[in-house]
Symmetry: C2
């Protein structure tokens, strides 16, 4: 893929500088999220979830539809929450790893974010790269990924690192 | 002023598309605010306050400093509130009417916002234009301005329109 022109961007080319508008909007409203969640169907009993998202209130839905068109991937999901104006919240969400690898990550490599959100993007990219190598299927890899998630966004403690499985492996999990 | 290049934008010209990044960032994080507040020093006992602002947590302060440089006006104010990450919040704020008229409004006329925030900008522009004509110094003008504020941002009821002064003038204030 040509990262200058994500698929579906034909109409966008008529809008000069649209790439930089997307960067500014994502600097404001975007979120690069990695979560390690319990899933008994996975080998380790834990699963890594990844999502790039941009949230808006429902009146700006057309802007999110513009992102679906621009990136040529992802979809719009209705959140249960409402905003201060009591509008339904919607988010543009890209979860599929191949879309993140082929479309989202190359775009933000080519057009860097300008706020501290760039650090979240860098962590997000590191985790996705580790997953491409299958490292999330090993306990050591999962510990590293969970450690990275603790530095991202709301900087919450990782439930995986606080789980009994992780605590039983003190040589791997240094807190 | 050339609205393509607000004062202080020399360095920014080396960053292609920076104008569109600003538009995207303001679509995400910007606020065009008009308030009608009690002020016994004013002829009507009420004052119209106007502010264009962009709020960020303290780690992204340099981005706000970039806006001061780009627009060549405004300043950075520390908010009392903290964000979810417990960082100090800061806002880039432009309050002076001449800066709004000469720098901020021409920029967003030339580079339109893409979200519904554009409607707030249009209302903001209408009020500032009314104030240039001195209409905020008349009771009728103040009623119109207060009515416009009720359609902006959080869509709160106007304290001016609910005041005893306004209620005593039912022919001017139709609710």
């Amino acid at each position: 893929m040509d990262s200058e022109k994500p698929s579906g961007a034909v109409n966008q080319q008529e809008r000069p500088g649209f790439e930089q508008w997307v960067v500014g909007f994502v600097d404001g409203e975007g979120c690069f999220s990695i979560s390690v969640v319990k899933n008994s169907g996975c080998r380790l009993g834990w699963q890594v979830q990844h999502e790039f998202s941009v949230t808006q209130a429902s009146p700006s839905r057309t802007v999110l539809e513009g992102l679906v068109e621009f990136f040529g991937c992802g979809s719009i999901i209705e959140n249960n929450r409402r905003d201060d104006h009591r509008h339904q919240l919607m988010r543009y969400a890209v979860k599929r790893r191949s879309d993140l690898i082929c479309r989202i990550i190359p775009f933000f490599e080519e057009h860097p974010l300008r706020t501290t959100k760039r650090q979240d993007f860098e962590s997000f990219r590191v985790v996705i790269t580790m997953m491409q190598k299958g490292l999330h299927l090993t306990f050591e890899g999962m510990v590293k990924i969970a450690g990275i998630t603790e530095t991202m966004n709301r900087k919450q403690r990782s439930r995986f690192l606080e789980s009994s499985e992780a605590i039983r492996q003190p040589s791997l999990v240094r807190r």
